[in-house]
């Protein structure tokens, strides 16, 4: 079975040591001094100016250990190496598939990434135009974005449906070390894969539980400013049976 992929975790929580608890989150605007002193390092969405850590984005500032990072409220998806993305096959070319990953550039999935042998003349037997894949960003270069499909939870997605949330909400939906997404999976019994590009794939045993999962995820995506969201979600699940 396809399971929650590890790619989501190491992208967002590589700096999380598991020892330091995050301090409370505060709303910051670009240019605001979030922390001062040489004890702090600038994480994503922040920069160092002298000894101050200054916000570059509008969002929630979070201190995890020494690192100050900002979870932006909005913004486009920018692919990085090892991001898990959900894309749609847009075209088939002689050496692979062109995959729309909801970025200015398409991704390229080489034929070699197919888990089984694919006849060069019948590539649509494996992935046809309009099919959806979960893939990992292998390389980002000016020439293009290369995708890979070897890994746990990656591959062609079959059954269920995909929908989009704001990509900047993806870390919240996954939660600290996957706490939120595990809660959702546990409560609904659905399989969920979240791409860093904001596309979410849901597959469950029946349509009702899939719809409930989608509502839960959209509920989280709306609530950016709420703290203690995991507890709120437990409440939500008891209310929305």
């Amino acid at each position: 079975m396809k399971n929650f992929n590890d790619g989501n975790n190491d992208e967002n929580y590589e700096e999380f040591t598991g020892v330091a608890e995050p301090t409370s989150r505060t709303v910051v605007v670009p240019g605001e001094v979030v922390a001062s002193g040489d004890d702090f390092l600038a994480g994503e969405g922040a920069r160092k100016e002298g000894s101050n850590v200054v916000a570059s984005r509008y969002g929630l500032a979070e201190k995890v250990g020494r690192v100050v990072k900002i979870i932006p409220f909005s913004g486009a998806f920018i692919p990085r190496r090892n991001n898990v993305v959900i894309g749609r096959v847009n075209d088939i070319v002689h050496s692979g598939w062109i995959v729309d990953i909801d970025y200015a550039q398409n991704g390229f999935l080489p034929l070699m990434e197919s888990p089984r042998f694919v006849n060069k003349h019948e590539m649509d037997q494996f992935l046809a135009i309009g099919d959806v894949v979960a893939a990992k960003v292998w390389n980002v270069s000016p020439k293009g974005i290369d995708l890979a499909m070897k890994g746990k939870g990656l591959g062609k997605l079959e059954g269920g449906f995909v929908f989009r949330v704001n990509p900047s909400r993806v870390p919240r939906i996954i939660g600290r070390e996957g706490s939120m997404i595990n809660l959702i999976k546990e409560k609904t019994g659905c399989n969920v894969t979240i791409g860093q590009n904001g596309w979410v794939w849901i597959k469950g045993n029946d349509i009702d539980s899939e719809l409930r999962t989608r509502r839960a995820i959209e509920f989280i995506a709306e609530k950016v400013l709420v703290s203690g969201l995991t507890e709120k979600m437990e409440e939500w699940f008891s209310k929305n049976k």
């Binding site: 909801d102 099919d131 997605l157 449906f161 995909v162 349509i207 509502r215």
Partner: protein, 273 residues
């Protein structure tokens, strides 16, 4: 919505869901979203309205001008609708010459209004054969989350009902800064609206969201009103997209159309001034 095209997965699931009578937002298949109407959104227009139907948002402005009548209708005023699908409304829309969908939007809104004869064009004559009023309906989609045509027709009617003539002197010069209390001559109790049925698989839906609209195979846009406050009357119809529609589909639509129209009208009447 983003620019990624609809996937086979979602289309198949929607097909199955519709067969079970379910939708992503929990509505029934023939249930419309709630909408709100705001007036006087444009300072320059003679009448304007903004309609928010779910996340779909349309602004319509009505502008009155003076012009020559068309040679084939010397005794009546002119009516025209224009507009374009602005790139601001959806990542699907590009700027450039109007394409099929944008022409369809303006044309269907105009046709529903024109063919219902709600605007008494004969009363718009200033000097027969020489000078008549021209009613220009400008449609600006602000956000597209499906059912743009339906939302635009609601906005167009709301704006028309708010339209006041500007002041005009003997030479026919218009002073747009001075509005009179004279309203546009509209037929009483006739409010034409367009209602669109979409078909996916064997199911019919109304008021789709963006993703549902993209999944659909066929549609018919109906222009319907309570003509002069009496029976329901269909003024216009246009079939769109590829799928075939059966007699049963049309029968089903005819069964539900009056009720859907009445519901929409009831909601609209709450906002009428």
């Amino acid at each position: 919505m983003s620019a990624m095209n609809l996937s086979n997965l979602t289309k198949n699931t929607l097909n199955k869901m519709f067969a079970l009578g379910k939708r992503f937002d929990g509505r029934k298949l023939l249930e419309q979203r709630e909408f709100t109407v705001e007036y006087d959104v444009s300072y320059k227009a003679e009448g304007s309205a903004r309609v928010k139907l779910g996340k779909t948002e349309v602004v319509v402005g009505v502008k009155l001008g003076v012009g020559e009548p068309y040679p084939d209708s010397l005794d009546s005023g002119n009516l025209m609708a224009s507009g374009d699908l602005l790139p601001l409304a959806s990542p699907r829309f590009e700027s450039g010459p109007p394409k099929y969908n944008s022409l369809e939007l303006t044309r269907l809104v105009e046709r529903a209004i024109r063919e219902s004869h709600v605007i008494d064009l004969k009363k718009l004559v200033i000097k027969e054969g020489e000078k008549v009023w021209t009613v220009m309906i400008d449609i600006y989609p602000i956000n597209d989350d499906g059912a743009l045509i339906d939302a635009a027709s609601i906005a167009a009617m709301a704006a028309l009902m708010q339209t006041h003539f500007p002041e005009i002197d003997k030479d026919g010069k218009i002073d747009y800064d001075k509005k009179t209390t004279k309203k546009l001559p509209l037929l009483e109790n006739t409010i034409p609206l367009s209602l669109t049925f979409y078909k996916l698989g064997d199911s019919l839906v109304v008021d789709p969201t963006r993703e549902e609209e993209e999944a659909a195979d066929g549609k018919i846009v109906w222009g319907i009103s309570h003509y002069k406050g009496k029976e329901h009357m269909i003024h216009s119809a246009q079939k769109g997209m590829d799928a075939h529609l059966s007699t049963d589909d049309i029968t089903e639509m005819m069964k539900n159309l009056p009720k859907l129209y009445d519901d929409t009208l009831k909601k609209l009447k709450k906002f009428l001034k």
